[in-house]
Amino acid sequence: MSIKIGEGPFHQRVEKGLNNPFMRGAVSSAQERFQQRKASAIEELGNWEEWRSLGEEIRQHTIEHLDFYLNQLSENIIKRGGHVFFAATAEEANHYIRDVVQSKNGKKVVKSKSMVTEEISLNACLEEAGCEVIETDLGEYILQVDDHDPPSHIVTPALHKNKEQIRDVFKAKLGYTKSEMPEELALHARELLRKEFLSADIGITGCNFAVAESGSISLVTNEGNARLVTALPKTQITVMGMERIVPTFEELDILVSLLTRSAVGQKLTSYVTALTGPRTEGEVDGPEEFHLVIVDNGRSSILGTDFQSVLQCIRCAACINVCPVYRHVGGHSYGSIYPGPIGAVLTPLLEGYEDHKELPYASTLCAACSEACPVKIPLHDLLHKHRQVIVEREGKAPVSEKLIMKAFGFGISSPALYQMGSKFAPMAMKPFVGENQSISKGPGPLKSWTDSREFPAPDQERFRDWMKSRAKGGRIDENRYRS
């Protein structure tokens, strides 16, 4: 799998998403649950905005001095007897990893969840070389067993599947005989995967944050599979995007605290594991050999541009969980392993505009993403910038915005509100806000919106609150949006 997933052009993927009622229900209830959990986890902190500002400041500083911190990281790792490979491209990374695996005569590889290895299509490379590669994160495992179904969310990749579908896949492929209860399904995976952990030659992980001061890598997980992957096989290979680094353990504290709250609404996940080099003298678990592969793959070309702030991303999915467009069309529509607002910003930067020029239009610019982001990436501004670049390059928008929004099933007949962006809209609209704080009748560009449906008053009641209040009233009626 590379960044790009799915078949067919953009509007066909969206169409597919819109016609999948389970997926759409699952996505909206997942968004609500993620948001509720996050809300209560951050409420307890009291001063969330200070935490965000601190997170932003740390990330900005680190990216600004990335050459220094990566150098420090690498020196500390080799001091501990680990090996570091800097890979400018996906191919370089894959070939190095394949060579390490072959030099160990590795036949079975167990992996814990890692976006960057999906980005570089590592599994395909290792499978071609004759290795068995087993994803051990439950969601990833389900997708792998189901003939490599692509992920639809960066934290819960199998979100688009229901438990009955998972049961059927397990029955067909894994000799499963029990019910569709998640507990029974998970237990079956535990039993099968335990054997794989114990017999694997190589463990491959991603990296949430490397720590420069000590040459450590950290893994933030709930299932325990990353601990098994790094405790049992004799060789460990960790693959990290080059920007996933903090200066010291003190900054690790802040970013892990922001990540776990934003991603899953937990104060900490079940396991936060900091690993430094291979096992030391006398230790009998942990890898005998440790390799860190630091991947550029297009990231450095973002440095020094207007888009540099996207490298602050800690892959928490908070922006995805509040996005009304993601809610509407689901993860696969984006055609990228990075869906939602972060995907719409990042994918064209890593892979070029050619295949992904519709993505920056997959947004209402309502700014809910930017406000949710724990490290304050101005996502909607960056989406807007993408559009400017695309228009400059092509002389026009790739397809008219009208058509794109239609493809998303929003069914508007005027794109004016999108052009204005909700940031600029409140003033113009205020007089028309009725008692229930939604716009019942608007002039000019809004008219066609309000003819077909209730539209939230920007800023007064943002999209996400609007969705929440509607959901609470049990009035979510997706068909209304499709007109």
């Binding site: 200070e50 900091a274 690993l275």
Partner: protein
């Protein structure tokens, strides 16, 4: 210790430097004073008793049994009680002087207890895998999140808190601090002092879990299915 190898660092890092507008890799960077430090204010003035209360409450959220040794009981009695409630052994523990110091020698008189033993190498793994219960001490405990911090080592195998079905953490009351901030600052100071850092530091917060199937919480996936904290 043998030094590792590094490949392509020069071209890779110089490219970054030039993208960031520099001719060479920055030789030194000083961390700035951050504008905010909200992390230090969490449970800032809490007493030890208050921290224990926060920990107890958090245990309900993380599906972890919280047990405090009562004044009329010993730690040994309490631990035995918890072990029995989980159906007994096999048990695996770290090789840790704190067991004896805390009056738990009788644990090793049971014939279903194994001690992590570096001299038997890989043979420790099946012992941990077959164990019903793994027992370790908590090196640092975080009240806010309900987390035990374990520094692994030769006698403190990673697998003891990972492979058994049940995990029991013994928590000295004085190991409890407000949150991750205090633990990371202890680690940071060790690094600055040039102390050797443990190859594996685990922050463990309750049993393993997953919400990957329809976002329904399943407690117990790859790691332990049940966890008890015993505070003494």
């Amino acid at each position: 210790m043998k030094t590792g190898t590094v490949h392509n660092s020069d071209s890779f890092l110089k490219n970054i430097s030039s993208r960031l507008g520099r001719d060479t890799i920055e030789p030194a960077v000083t961390l700035p004073e951050w504008s905010y430090s909200p992390q230090h204010r969490v449970l800032e003035n809490a007493t030890q008793e208050e921290l224990i209360a926060v920990l107890e409450k958090q245990c309900q959220i993380i599906h972890t049994d919280f047990v405090r040794v009562k004044p009329e009981n010993t730690l040994e009695e309490t631990l035995n009680y918890v072990i029995e409630s989980y159906g007994g052994g096999p048990i695996i523990t770290w090789d840790d002087p704190r067991f004896e110091q805390s009056g738990l020698s009788s644990l090793f008189e049971r014939d279903d207890t194994s001690i992590w033993d570096p001299s038997i190498g890989d043979n420790n793994i099946p012992l941990a895998e077959k164990a019903n219960i793994g027992i370790t001490f908590s090196d640092i405990t975080l009240a806010e999140s309900g987390t035990v911090v374990l520094f692994s080592g030769a006698k403190k195998g990673r697998a003891v808190s990972l492979l058994p079905t049940v995990y029991i953490a013994l928590i000295p009351a004085e190991s409890i601090v407000p949150r991750m901030t205090q633990a990371t600052s202890i680690i940071h100071n060790k690094i600055q002092d040039g102390d050797a850092l443990s190859s594996c530091i685990n922050f463990i917060t309750g049993p393993s879990n997953s919400a990957d199937i329809e976002m329904k919480l399943v407690v117990g996936v790859h790691g332990p299915i049940k966890v008890t904290y015993i505070v003494y």
